[in-house]
């Protein structure tokens, strides 16, 4: 009897697993279709700029959500990696004359290496202690950037050369939109594959209970470190793209408030939901653009929207709506 019940529940689990993979694939197609169709609705360069900013933030958030939502490890310092990616690429291509594409890759790889080195002692910490340590790392990075003005231009920032990939110069809003949209699709595809792989299952297991995961032979420290490095590389690459797109970079990119902004996007959209991260980035990147009509009231209204959303959608927008939709269909 027990055997039958367990095999039935196994079958049910297998079914939900395949349906999760299928809904992930459906979501990816939907996102691709949306990205292709969006230019029809974008009337001018300003709207393209917003769409590009959404895509770049979404790349960071998808990576960050792997760390926060799936592996259960908070980071309040990812803006530090974002800014380092941007400054690294700016300094290599601007000051040292490297080709911008190569500079972007090298700087993202260097940030990954840094995350590997600092991640080892940091990820041993849990909960609030981990929040404090990542927050400290982010603040130290941003203070170093603002202080070493001979290399970084200090608080005034520095210019960043335009991006060229394999001799093809990325120029104009449409080209940038295509590049960042493709990068976002690639990131989402990678993240979806990752969470359906043994690595993804290991991450979710250690989120539930690290001790239980360890007894099943999951090397939790190694998995946490890997996803930390991956999310840092996503942040660094998006930071470098942002810098090349804007043509300028300032230490504000690495500020504590920017780190907080990224975490807010992840939690707002929905933790442990890849598309939640994309939705969170889209809503919270466009909201300040809409709120600029409120001028001085912008910060206050943004905070109030955040509070109200989190009170009524404590699990984030996408998971709450998905649950509501599933209940309606059942």
């Amino acid at each position: 009897m027990a055997h039958v019940a367990s095999s039935a529940s196994e079958a049910a689990r297998a079914r939900t697993a395949t349906s999760a993979a299928a809904s992930g694939r459906r979501g990816l197609f939907l996102l691709a279709a949306l990205l292709v169709a969006l230019p029809i609705a974008l009337p001018n360069a300003y709207f393209y700029d917003v769409a590009i900013a959404v895509a770049l933030n979404a790349i960071v958030c998808v990576g960050l959500n792997l760390l926060i939502g799936y592996a259960g490890q908070i980071s309040l310092g990812h803006a530090g990696f974002f800014a380092l990616g941007g400054y690294g690429s700016a300094i290599l291509s601007g000051t040292h004359g490297w080709p911008a594409g190569l500079a972007l890759l090298a700087s993202s790889a260097a940030v990954g290496l840094l995350a590997f080195v600092v991640g080892r002692p940091t990820l041993r910490l849990k909960g609030h202690y981990l929040a404090m340590a990542t927050l400290g790392l982010g603040i130290i990075i941003s203070i170093v950037i603002a202080t070493e003005d001979r290399v970084t231009g200090g608080p005034d920032g520095m210019p960043v050369p335009p991006l060229a990939l394999l001799g093809w110069k990325i120029h104009g809003e449409l080209a940038w939109y295509a590049l960042t949209g493709a990068a976002l699709l690639f990131t989402v595809w990678l993240a979806l594959n990752l969470i359906e792989s043994p690595v993804g299952r290991a991450l979710r297991a250690l989120h539930g209970s690290e001790v239980a995961a360890e007894t099943l032979g999951i090397a939790s420290a190694a998995y946490k470190l890997r996803v930390f490095v991956l999310s840092a590389v996503f942040a660094a690459a998006a930071g470098a793209l942002t810098a090349h797109h804007a043509g300028f970079i300032t230490p504000v990119q690495g500020s504590f408030m920017h780190s907080v902004g990224l975490v807010i996007m992840v939690v707002f959209g929905g933790m442990a939901s890849i598309f939640g991260a994309v939705v969170g980035a889209a809503v919270l990147t466009t909201l300040p653009q809409v709120l600029t009509v409120l001028k001085d009231y912008e910060m206050m209204v943004f905070g109030a929207v955040l509070i109200v959303t989190m009170v009524f959608f404590p699990h984030g927008i996408v998971p709450t709506l998905a649950r509501w939709w599933a209940r309606r269909r059942a």
Binding site: H128, G136, L137, A304
Partner: protein, 291 residues
Amino acid sequence: MGSQWLQYVAGGVTAGAIYALVALGYSIIFNASRVINFAQGEFVMIGGMTAVTLVGAGAPLAVAVPLAVAGAIAAALLLEKVAIEPARQADTVTLIIITLGASLVLRGGAQIVWDKRVHSLPAFSGDQPLHLLGATVLPQSLWVLGVAAAAVGALSWFFGRTLFGKAMLATSYNPLAAQLVGISTRQVLFVSFGLAAMLGSLGGVLVAPITFTSYDVGIMLGLKGFAAAMLGGLGSFGGAVLGGLLLGLAEALGAGFVSSAYKDAIAFVVILAVLFFLPGGLLGARRIERV
């Protein structure tokens, strides 16, 4: 050389006393709810800015200071009622995001009520520096130390000698058991916000004559207070005071002897070093995770 040391120590202890007051606020709210209240720094700002406005309108300090503290307490209680209370069942991360949203509302509100300029408060008893063993000390520093010490004393009396204080401690040890003996943990959380705002705004008023104040002073002061609370061990009141003083000293000595450009980074370098080698903080209980 000796007097230089003394000079840095005097500055460090003054800043440290402020960090200690902010850190105590973090620990009080953490004990009542396991939540890190990222709006704690804004209470410091509200205290300082309200006092500046009242003094500017001609109120004497003896009236302005209590009113400024009362204003911050009112803001905190309102915040608890409208934002924290309705979401009490939510995850800790969700609650933390709510406190971050609250800090944006308070900072954005301050930007409208006041402005984006830097303000200063007149020192409580003049700017004539005192000479102590070769170091010059501002009389305001003595005010900071005296009032902070009095606040810590009053707090330890409250937690050690009053029924409600003991109820708050009981809630921090075990909320469920506290509820079973008839303690309203909901009320404990409400009062903890008031207490945290009182301590933070007191710090904000005391430090305003020395370091000035503006709508965004809450960010750095809040983060350093958080670091101080962590340094001493989150939730430990003695630890918060010790952590605050140590952080203030490390910052003053580091800025004096190593690099003044990196003054703001020192607190975070110290806290990272401590977390990597002593993950429970200096006075934190050795916690054993149960499965």
